[in-house]
């Protein structure tokens, strides 16, 4: 089973995530897209760890940490989104430009 299958797949997901980050308006949707990117990372890690067989342990652990951190990030992110919504009744990222000079 060729490694690069997985790699290309993850690369694809990663790029899709990028697209979402760039193109989506709703902050939550942007957050979703970022999750896609993190998943791409995890797929890489796991694929490699499977490829390394014996030495594969770090990859999986890495993936676990990524998941944990992702959870933390999402928590914080959503908190901020809610906060903003409370203050401005909108969660559209491209309206976030109070600080134009």
């Amino acid at each position: 089973m060729p490694v690069h299958y997985f790699l290309v797949l993850s690369a694809f997901l990663f790029s899709i995530g990028i697209y979402g980050v760039l193109a989506r308006q709703n902050a939550v949707l942007v957050l979703l897209s970022i999750e896609l990117m993190l998943n791409a990372v995890n797929i890489n890690l796991i694929a490699f760890s499977a490829w390394f067989e014996g030495r594969g342990l770090p990859g999986q652990i890495f993936a676990l940490f990524v998941i944990a951190v992702a959870a933390a990030e999402v928590g914080v992110g959503l908190a901020i989104v809610i906060l903003i919504y409370r203050n401005r009744q909108t969660v559209d990222v491209d309206e976030m430009s109070l600080m134009k000079w």
Binding site: L7, V21, I34, L45, F48, F52, G59, E73, L83, L98
Partner: protein, 488 residues
Amino acid sequence: MQLAQSFIQADVDWHALAPELVMITAACLVLVVDLFVPRAIKWVAMPLSAAGIFATIAAVASLIGDERTTLAGSFEVDGFALLFKGLFALIGLVILGVSFHFFREGRYYQGEYYFLLMCGLLGGMVMASSRDLISIFIAIELISIPGIIMTALRKGDAKSNESALKFFLFSVLSSAVMLYGMSLIYGITGATQLDAIRDALAEAGSQPVITMSVFFIVVGFAFKISAVPFHFWAPDTYEGAPSPVAAFLSTASKIGGFVGLLVLMFVAFPDVADDWRPIFAVLAVLTMTVGNLIALRQTHIIRLLAYSGIAQSGYILVAFALIDPSNAATNSQAFQSALIYLAIYGVMDAGAFGAAVAFARRGGSYFIDDYKGLWSRSPLLACMLTAFLVSLAGVPPLAGFWAKLFVFLATMNAEVWWLAAVMGLNAVIAAWYYLAVVKRMFFDPAEDDSLVEVPLMLKTSIGFCAALLIVFVPGMPILSNLVERSTL
């Protein structure tokens, strides 16, 4: 049973971890105490965390001089680590001092704030010792996420929320990019420990994929250290965040990023340096030039400091553009120049932010035009701020000059003349906008001549930085020797 055994088996050098452990305990302590004290005296959190940091410093001091490695080589305590642990603690203290009145008078969640601040510092300390992709990743996250939250603490202010969101998005995005690169590195080398990675890369030799992965990692860090063109978030975030937090972001958080970058580039990837050195050359030039040019036009002190900070990171990045594993002398020269620059930059930038906070505290504002005649309104503050600005401009004999000098030396030593010339020109441009502030403070008449009184706490912490700047002058040999001994 087995579980228990595995605990026993795990021989962890707890002493090596002492600073981090102390920090964690202190942080949690702050959190808990905060729950039980009445609102009126919530400020006790600050002295408490200060005590915690002092304890940490003690722990760090207890480690001075010995080289320890634990956790299967993924955690190292050496001169380098200690230097930066100390630096983070120091900056932490300054920021605490700056924060005290700000948060006490501004109806913030003090306890949580101090807790988060300590977490951020903890991240930096861990970063200083991390020799493993995973812990580096965790450390950088531990620096960023509290930063994000602290940025959002000015909840009522839409600007603040917005800057928090920006910061959040960019930080997460950068983490994703960085992780992607790390995953590939793991894939190429099959290891997460930097030494192992280095060996693997050494035999793997130069490949596009390696360059790309390194590049992704660099991009990830470029966000954290707000290098052009990955700097966009910084000014807005600094402006939107509570100023002490901005100070934290621009010093501790940025230095944390640099520490990670240093460790990665000098320990893990030097053997393929030829492939990625140009990246840093470009980054450095862009960062310092763009940062300076934009700073010329700033009217808001925090934004000005933000851009000046960006430009300063440009100088530090130069050190990376000089890495040359084949030439140990040049290499260590570059490395040390980065260390010196970081140490000095941290002190003077924290001081500058502190001064800005002090001025904005009562009735003052963040707009540079309001600094007119500050000299007559608060001579001490004006003089100290001038000291920081002049030092940032790199005018001898203040510390900032030595920082630049060593970078110059390293550059010339590596015989990258053009880079040196670019730095030189930038130094002149920079002096220009720093002077613009000085000019307002001293040359222009005050519009309202009410005195600006600075509370003792602020005075001491700012004065501490100012004093350091001057102490560096005769103390330069000490610092440089210290740095000389903090190798990786």
